[in-house]
Point group: C2
């Protein structure tokens, strides 16, 4: 197995990416293909004392910048580390691609270079989030800010395959995020999507779910449009930060709490990892023929390593092929 890595994507490229790859090589015996400027990569590795064992470099002189229009990846920016990596994936040089670069460009590139699965209307972004009942899958997290009912129906199917293949969950509970549980709740999009989802026997549709139940473990797959999903993802990120900031203040507010903190802080700060969706790796560009992982833009070495682990597990669990099979019937 070979994992292709965009060495010049994200805020901390290339050093943290290289460190993350080195961790993945040593922990998972991963084989890595780095894409990016060969000379710069070798210099960065040398200067930071990072071994490139287990890694090869596929030269790509350019970098996809955050402010670049996503569609430029197809032409003007086709020599970027991201574009070269996606082409290498499409050509079969590796089994999965991981990038911490621009989500928009990666989605466009995955769609037109790696290509959509036949039958899938629109690729989307899926994300595994921590809940009180273990991991749950949320999609679309932002690729399609306007959705049609059939798209939500397909997201359900994709989420179902992912949660069964990746986590081995038997008949994942698939819910439609809505503002009430009754069948008659929500806007036109939800009303129509509900009907499609209810009439599909392929997955275990449990109906509408209010957003309150998401983190309390109300479903295994939460289906929503890309606008709402993106808001859910970002809101929870901000709220976790808000709560943890205040928790820290509470533990250090006076001598008494500081004394008590000596006994609880390991356990309490350990919660941070539990609420941190980066622990599960990155987001997935789903609906395309191969595994494409979007690591968080601010990924440090550890977070990037987790994204590589996720890519490896996707390949081991044959996620991309199972996804293709699920859509063969369409």
């Amino acid at each position: 197995m070979k994992i292709i890595v965009d060495a010049f994507g994200g805020d901390n490229a290339p050093v943290e990416i290289l460190k993350g790859c080195a961790l993945a090589v040593s922990e998972y015996k991963a084989n890595i293909i780095l894409t990016g400027d060969e000379k710069k990569l070798k210099t960065a590795a040398k200067e930071n004392g990072i071994s490139l064992d287990g890694m090869e470099i596929l030269h790509a002189p350019d970098v996809m910048e955050m402010e670049d229009e996503p569609t430029t990846i197809l032409k003007a920016k086709s020599n970027t580390s991201m574009a070269v990596g996606l082409k290498a994936l499409a050509d079969g040089l590796g089994d999965a691609f991981v990038s911490a670069g621009s989500t928009g460009a990666l989605t466009v590139g995955a769609t037109f270079i790696v290509k959509r699965i036949k039958g899938v209307k629109r690729p989307a972004i899926g994300m595994v989030m921590p809940t009180d009942n273990g991991p749950a899958f949320l999609m679309d997290c932002g690729a399609n800010s306007e959705c049609r009912p059939e798209m939500l129906h397909q997201f359900a199917k994709i989420g179902d395959v992912y949660m069964s293949a990746f986590f081995g969950i038997d008949r994942p509970r698939v819910a439609l995020v809505n503002i009430g549980t009754e069948e008659t709740k929500g806007d036109e999009l939800r009303l129509e999507a509900y009907k499609l989802m209810k009439n599909d026997g392929d997955y275990n549709f449990i109906g509408n779910m209010e957003a309150r139940e998401f983190f309390l473990g109300g479903c295994d797959v939460a289906v929503t449009d890309g606008f709402t999903g993106n808001v859910m993802l970002k809101l929870s990120e901000g709220m976790a930060k808000f709560i943890l900031n205040n928790l820290k203040k509470a533990l250090t507010s006076n001598l008494k709490t500081m004394f008590g903190a000596l006994f609880v802080k390991k356990s309490v700060y350990g919660l941070k990892a539990k609420f941190d969706y980066k622990e599960y790796g990155g987001a997935m560009i789903v609906g395309v023929k191969k595994t494409v992982i979007k690591a968080h833009g601010s990924s440090d070495a550890r977070a990037f390593k987790n994204s590589i682990r996720q890519a490896i597990e996707c390949v081991n669990n044959d996620v991309a092929n199972r996804m293709q099979k699920a859509f063969e019937k369409e």
Copy 2:
């Protein structure tokens, strides 16, 4: 000043409502008009040893049930404690109305009995939420699951008036919740709303805001459609519960943490109040001529008392009249 209270709204009516009113009478010297079945109210007060000092009763034999269609409040259910209270408010018997009953029915009733402010397209639900930078106003929280751009523009105006009048914030920072900060981000609704908001000099529009910034204090007024706002409200409620559940587990996980917890628990559990939006009172039905507060359905006496306090402060700060004035120019 007189506050009209729906004594039969919510999960814990009438006992917790009566207790909350008694607390409000003793703490704020409030004058209360209770609406509901007179005999039942007197019996409940007697059986639970609650004094009815400072309260009068306006008899209403029926109750608006959660499963009732909201529009029935206007005809078939016009003898309910909620309908009678709204009529009393419209007739000037009191200065504000508080109910923990059905949000849908209360919104319909407020719109057609208390009536819309001239110029307001659609009343909506506004909610004050705790953030790292103090209170922030979120609307619409669920009255209008489909919105037009002009509606978002009006929500901005309403939120601006509320945050300046109620909290005395000078030029509240009004933001449009979106999936990116650039002017070109989001769906059609956001693109059009952005233009309207940008061109209005009446309030301090700070542009698009990603949901991540909401709890980190990124704005004073967050404007969104009723679907997204409801999802934000409910998601944050569930997430706070998820985190606090796990915090409790972390503090009681072993003897060492239990010992440490003795010194930190007051401070740490005190955070719960900080994240609990019920501390700020209830939701507001905004865009109608008088103050209508929707207390949380599961309100206990303390939460209900907070909603009465919020109603009193709205009246003291002349919120409803200021809102009317703001729309006179339209």
